[in-house]
């Protein structure tokens, strides 16, 4: 049997890919286009704008509630990303490198938290947060987003640390580092793409999280972007263009982050082996 690609199969696969990309991108493209079209233009059947306007963005940025939400989302997202990295790196290192009683149980428990759908734990979380007196605080959101993203972060990093040969650290320890020094000087630089990927992932997860925010936040001054976007659906002064501009603002950091770390991310997602 020949393993060489059949041209007909290749053409077919190209088409499937093209259709998938179109299906994925067209709503996003539509949002971008709609955000720069006049309101009366948006509902027309044509995809091509008759005129380009940034009036939706201007009116959006003049709304203080939206700007507060933007700042809140940035604060929560950045803190969550940093904390995720700060906790996941040592946690995954410990699971990957050390042997101790209860290690595998703990690792399984960490993964086990991913088995429950978010909705299932929403009520207990709300009750806990309320009893702690943390409703309507960003602190509560930070903790919850951290809990949502950490398990995957730990397991992702564990895989990468597993792929760094132990002998590299042993060589470093003979060369003059301690265990921690070997981790910081040898293993950490080698898994840096994965660390960037994990941090980006945590930020994006927090940035777009809606359900928990909705359950915990009601005050304007602590609302995050997804909640602020919802308030744009104001029955008295409603503008599709403004909603679409809000959509673009939400999507933008994810895209920018991806472009910035594209090489690191693709490296982080595909390169497993780091062989000497």
């Amino acid at each position: 049997m020949s393993r060489r690609a059949n041209p007909r199969h290749e053409a077919f696969l190209d088409w499937v890919t093209a259709i998938a990309v179109f299906l994925l991108l067209s709503p996003i493209a539509w949002v971008f286009l709609a955000s720069v079209r006049p309101d009366r233009d948006i509902m027309s059947a044509s995809l091509v704008p008759t005129s380009v306007t940034f009036v939706h963005f201007l009116s959006l940025f003049q709304r203080t509630d939206f700007m507060i939400a933007l700042a809140n989302s940035l604060v929560v997202g950045i803190v969550v990303a940093l904390l995720t990295v700060a906790i996941a790196v040592p946690a995954s290192y410990s699971i990957s490198r050390f042997r101790y009683v209860g290690r595998d149980v703990m690792a399984a428990l960490i993964l086990g938290t991913q088995m429950l759908p978010g909705v299932a734990v929403m009520v207990p979380i709300v009750v806990i947060v309320r009893s702690l007196g943390l409703t309507n605080t960003l602190t509560a959101l930070i903790f919850i987003h951290l809990a949502l993203g950490l398990p995957i972060a730990v397991w992702m990093l564990r895989g990468y640390i597993d792929s760094v040969p132990r002998e590299l650290e042993e060589a470093a320890m003979i060369d003059g580092t301690g265990q921690i020094g070997a981790m910081l000087r040898i293993t950490f630089p080698l898994i840096r793409p994965a660390v960037v990927a994990v941090g980006t992932f945590a930020f994006v997860l927090s940035w777009g999280e809606y359900l928990m925010a909705l359950a915990l936040i009601s005050k304007t001054e602590v609302k995050t972007l997804p909640l602020a976007l919802q308030t744009l659906f104001d029955p008295y002064s409603f503008s599709w263009g403004e909603v679409m501009a809000g959509g673009v603002v939400i999507a933008l950091p994810t895209i920018v982050l991806f472009l910035m770390f594209r090489n690191q991310l693709v490296g982080g997602l595909t390169s497993g082996g780091v062989k000497g």
Binding site: P165, E167, L168, E170, A171, A172, M173, I174, D175, G176, T177, G178, G181, I186, P189, L190, V274, K275, G276
Partner: protein, 357 residues
């Protein structure tokens, strides 16, 4: 330079004991090779000396200092790993200078020492490359360079040549030996390849299941193996070992054949194992009195030697002939040997009995 003393060293993983009560003195400046089959504990022993494995019992001294609880970095040793363990994100120069950088030595000194080591190992043009840009042999050299730069008291090698192809292995073998002669530093070298051990070592330690079978100079082990394990392990192809019993007319093998022996050489009635190296069997002259009547099973000419497998009773005997021998499979043949070349082992204990060479 330093001696290494292992005094009653033991290693347990949980209830599993892999090394027990092992005693060994590595002399100052010698190249000692630990050899044995997989799982014999040789790498574990090396890692214990390096400080990468904890010691479950006994005392370990390097240069007279007790180092049982000492961290690897404080033992003043260097190790070359089987996988080389080069830091992938550092250049050759950074790999080699890493230990000096950690020791906060002046930059000029680091550069000088790295350059010296690179000159010894012919790595001059490669200092700015990364490990992935090097061939297997070059990586091997960098790993050795990293060890040399440290100027350690003891070098540890963990099967450093097993990832190289046969030709390069022979070349690196010679380079390591030359390096040892040049530096005069104590080296402990682990391998499963007995040819490597024979060609390089000052002394060889044969390990089996966590204990020492024999320690000695290469030819001493070859000429006078202390027991059946060493007899079988050292030498290639390995020694013919034939269990049997001494009778009046010779040595009767369990496989049925009778080996004629000069009378009085061995006590009658004793259960023994007779050993003879394939290289010490010769085609017998037609009128030779003490010859083994055998049948040819298989022959493998290599050009300068002929490797032949014979059936003797139900035993198989291997022989290596220097000259070209033309014989067909299934043909009868006569093998002669010098009784002085025989090795005799006690069947029950496996220990060497005779004082033959």
């Amino acid at each position: 330079m330093a001696s290494v003393e292992l005094d009653g060293i033991g290693k347990r993983y949980g209830s599993l004991s892999v090394i027990e009560g092992l005693n060994l003195d590595v002399r100052d400046g010698e190249l000692l090779i630990l050899v044995g089959p997989s799982g014999c504990g040789k790498s574990t022993l090396l890692r214990i000396i390096a400080g990468l494995e904890s010691i479950s019992g006994g005392e370990l001294r390097i240069g007279g200092r007790l180092v049982n609880e000492m961290a690897p970095r404080d033992r003043n040793i260097a190790m070359v790993f089987q996988s080389y363990a080069l830091y992938p994100h550092k250049t050759v120069a950074q790999n080699m200078g890493f230990s000096l950088m950690l020791a906060k030595r002046p930059k000029a000194e680091i550069e000088r020492k790295v350059k010296e080591a690179a000159d010894i190992l012919n790595l001059g043009g490669l200092l700015d490359r990364y490990p992935k840009q090097l061939s297997g042999g070059q990586r091997q050299r960098v790993a050795m360079g990293r060890a040399i730069v440290r100027d350690p008291e003891v070098f540890l090698f963990d099967e450093p040549l097993s990832n190289l192809d046969a030709k390069l292995r022979v070349q690196m073998r010679a380079e390591i030996k030359a390096l040892h002669e040049r530096l005069g530093t104590t080296m402990i070298y682990v391998t499963h390849d007995q040819v490597e051990a024979m060609t390089m070592a000052d002394r060889i330690v044969v390990l089996n299941r966590g204990h020492i079978e024999q320690v000695g100079a290469p030819l001493e082990l070859y000429d006078r193996p202390a027991n059946l394990f060493v007899a079988d392990f050292i030498g290639s192809p390995s020694m013919n070992l034939m269990p049997g019993r001494v009778e009046d007319d010779g040595f009767r093998l369990d496989g049925g054949g009778i080996v004629p022996l000069p009378s009085g050489l061995l006590p009658t009635g004793r259960e023994l194992v007779l050993g003879i190296r394939p290289q010490h069997l010769l085609p017998a002259a037609d009128d030779a009195p003490a010859a083994l009547p055998v049948r040819v099973l298989l022959q493998e000419p290599t050009g300068d030697e002929t490797f032949v497998e014979f059936a003797f009773g139900s035993d198989h005997i291997r022989a290596v002939f220097r000259e070209r021998v033309v014989i067909g499979s299934g043909e009868s043949f006569s093998l002669a040997f010098d009784p002085a070349r025989l090795h005799v082992f006690d069947k029950a204990s496996g220990e060497r009995l005779s004082a033959n060479n």
